[in-house]
């Protein structure tokens, strides 16, 4: 745990960070159950275990900064300030959801909080985030765009094209790679000749930084200077967060490609457990307060579920509405 940064937070702020991690965790765990019981159709891509990356990154962003997310995006949306109720309603396919029920788990956005959309295509969002950074630069708003993607996406052409373009034009972007070691079932080491994605930054002349993605404050500590760099016009940074998803790629994934030992070892580094421990150690919270936070997170998720259950489905005329801006 990066003690320096943790202690720079006030107790309230620190508890807030834990709450965000807990909310993301509780939300995902509930979603899995709801998929099992059929309330949520299709599948889900649980973010369980990776919460520190989203929360840590957003900690280093200003509220008016922008993010681009991935198919495994519930965590990013909640960390950026998304509303669990609207998110849950969307997963239920209800009209009150973020997409009116039309997007679903992989296609979420909340433009009002600077979340420009999660993306169902691996690497699909990277150029879009790059374009948003271009726009921000051209309009001189001083914003920064954080672009999330996984290790698998770094082999897509769009990743390379985007970093190249961003580096040449010095765009105010921070490329946050969540290297959870597996693209679906394929180990990263089988599809990439280099071990650390951060090294790819050198090909584009930009800084590449690795960080322990299970340590929320460490992530924040590394994203902050990258954000500053971007905001001051010095261009993009590639940040590789070494992380792990505790569960499968998607709901149905039996994880036959990973060993139980490996999974257990990463579980030891659960970001929530670690932050709890740190907060206790540093006297930033009592055990009772920590439990209260956990309950608060669960309550928020309960609220979201009941909101989603109560919400109506979309009307039939919503089917063909909203394809174009003009009708």
């Amino acid at each position: 745990m990066s003690a320096a940064t943790a202690s720079s937070l006030s107790p309230a702020e620190a508890r807030r960070v834990l709450y965000q991690l807990s909310l993301a965790r509780a939300f995902e765990e509930r979603v899995l159950k709801l998929v099992s019981d059929g309330s949520i159709r299709g599948t889900t891509h649980p973010y369980v275990g990776q919460e520190a990356v989203a929360v840590g990154t957003c900690l280093a962003l200003r509220p008016d900064d922008l993010v681009i997310s991935t198919h495994r995006g519930h965590g990013h949306l909640l960390a950026k300030g998304g509303d669990p109720k609207r998110l849950m309603a969307e997963l239920f396919g209800k009209a009150a959801g973020y997409g009116g029920g039309k997007g679903g788990t992989q296609h979420l956005a909340d433009f009002s909080i600077g979340h420009l959309g999660s993306n169902g295509v691996t690497g699909g969002g990277i150029p879009i985030g790059t374009g948003a950074a271009l726009s921000v630069q051209m309009r001189g708003t001083g914003q920064v765009v954080a672009i999330f993607f996984g290790d698998g996406a770094t082999n897509q052409g769009t990743f390379h094209e985007s970093l190249n373009l961003a580096s040449v034009w010095r765009l105010p972007a921070v490329y946050v790679c969540e290297n959870n070691l597996y693209a679906m079932s394929t180990p990263f080491r089988d599809v990439c000749a280099i071990e650390h994605i951060a090294e790819r930054a050198a090909a584009y002349g930009i800084p590449g930084v690795q960080v322990d993605g299970m340590d929320v404050m460490a992530v924040a500590a590394v994203v902050s200077p990258a954000v500053e760099r971007a905001r001051s016009g010095r261009g993009p940074t590639l940040i590789e967060c070494k992380t792990y998803r505790f569960l499968g790629h998607s709901k149905s994934d039996q994880r036959v490609y990973r060993s139980k030992e490996e999974e257990a070892a990463w579980r030891e580094r659960d970001p929530i457990a670690r932050l709890r421990a740190t907060l206790l150690e540093q006297g930033l919270a009592t055990a009772a307060e920590l439990d209260a936070i956990a309950r608060e997170a669960l309550a928020a998720v309960d609220d979201a579920v009941s909101f989603a259950q109560r919400s109506p489905f979309p009307e039939p005329d919503a089917l063909t509405a909203g394809v174009f801006t003009d009708g």
Partner: protein
């Protein structure tokens, strides 16, 4: 009214819109000092500078993707894909993202992106630099597609496209760039989604767009000497298709021929023909015919390429066959 070339029509549209709205900017390969592979952006770099006329690396997917991101956040980019053949590299961004964001994100998103691309063969450029792929994009809901045939229309439609808050693909035929025509003075836009009857007629309806409008008109002239009066409908916009204009014409003439440069199977003509049968069946006095390229890659050798692309004579012969003369 002035006489302009088609590429001047493009250039003027871009220029006027960039002057009118500071959010409009251009991205593409070699669009700067070089003026674009077909000269359409000539002079714009000198006038607007590198901030607004951005020469990109060869990264079609990211040219379009960055365009989408900029469009999502308040800019109005016009990106160029140098040859329509290369649009394949950007298909994911166009089909899965630009066209769908508004719908998927519950109408939160606006993607006022224009993608311009030169298309078509006849220049011996070979199979990967000569295609007409517009038919693919009819199959992507959420995307508008325009294919202007004249300098006035390319200027007017491109202006409309830039002002449209939806993603618009503008297909410009390479062989049209040097053609000239009258362009009205002043602030004139052409509405998207509206076909135009280029020639009134009573005996057969020729539905076409882009380069083949001129050829169809020549065919109509030739047919007129045989006493056959052909009506030529220039679609101008391929998506959304102005079905009513086509149907009105078919109801009048009872005979429909769809003409395009792209390959026959699954072409634009197939869609037009299907709609005509669905909605004007009782007015058809003859089978519907399609004139298009055969289902082959476009060959290089001039004699083969010439044979591959539909010709004036094909149109005339098909009409004569339909009318049994």
């Amino acid at each position: 009214m002035r006489e302009l070339t088609y590429w001047q029509g493009v250039q003027e549209a871009l220029r006027e819109e960039m002057v009118r709205d500071p959010r409009v900017f251009l991205m593409g390969e070699d669009i700067g000092v070089y003026g674009g592979a077909f000269g359409a952006t000539r002079g714009l770099f000198a006038e607007f500078g590198p901030e607004r006329v951005r020469c990109t690396p060869i990264s079609e997917a990211t040219i379009v993707g960055a365009g989408i991101g900029a469009a999502l956040t308040g800019m109005r980019p016009v990106v160029e894909i140098m040859f329509m053949d290369f649009i394949t590299l950007a298909m994911d961004q166009i089909a899965n993202h630009a066209a769908k964001f508004r719908y998927m994100y519950g109408e939160q998103a606006r993607v006022p992106l224009v993608i311009r691309t030169p298309a078509g063969g006849g220049r011996s450029y070979g199979a990967t630099h000569s295609q007409s792929l517009e038919a693919w994009f009819l199959h992507v809901p959420g995307l508008k597609v325009i294919a202007p045939a004249t300098p006035a229309d390319v200027k007017g439609l491109l202006k409309s496209a830039i002002r449209d808050d939806n993603p618009v693909l503008c297909v410009e035929h390479k062989r049209l760039y040097a053609t000239a025509g009258p362009v009205p003075d002043g602030e004139v836009t052409v509405p998207i989604g509206q076909a135009m009857i280029r020639r009134q007629g009573t005996d057969v309806t020729l539905v076409t767009y882009s380069y083949y409008v001129g050829v169809a008109l020549q065919a109509a002239e030739a047919l007129a000497r045989d006493g056959i009066n052909a009506e030529v409908v220039d679609l101008r916009t391929l998506a959304p298709l102005d079905t009513e204009t086509v149907l009105d014409s078919v109801r009048k003439t009872g005979r429909l021929i769809c003409i395009e440069e792209g390959t026959r199977t699954g072409g634009v003509g197939a869609e037009v023909a299907a709609r005509a049968v669905e909605e004007a069946y009782e007015y058809l006095d003859a089978p519907i015919r399609r004139i298009a390229a055969p289902d082959i890659p476009i060959p290089f050798s001039p004699v083969l390429e010439e044979a591959a692309l539909p010709k004036l004579d094909d149109i005339v012969q098909t009409v004569l066959e339909l009318l049994q003369r």
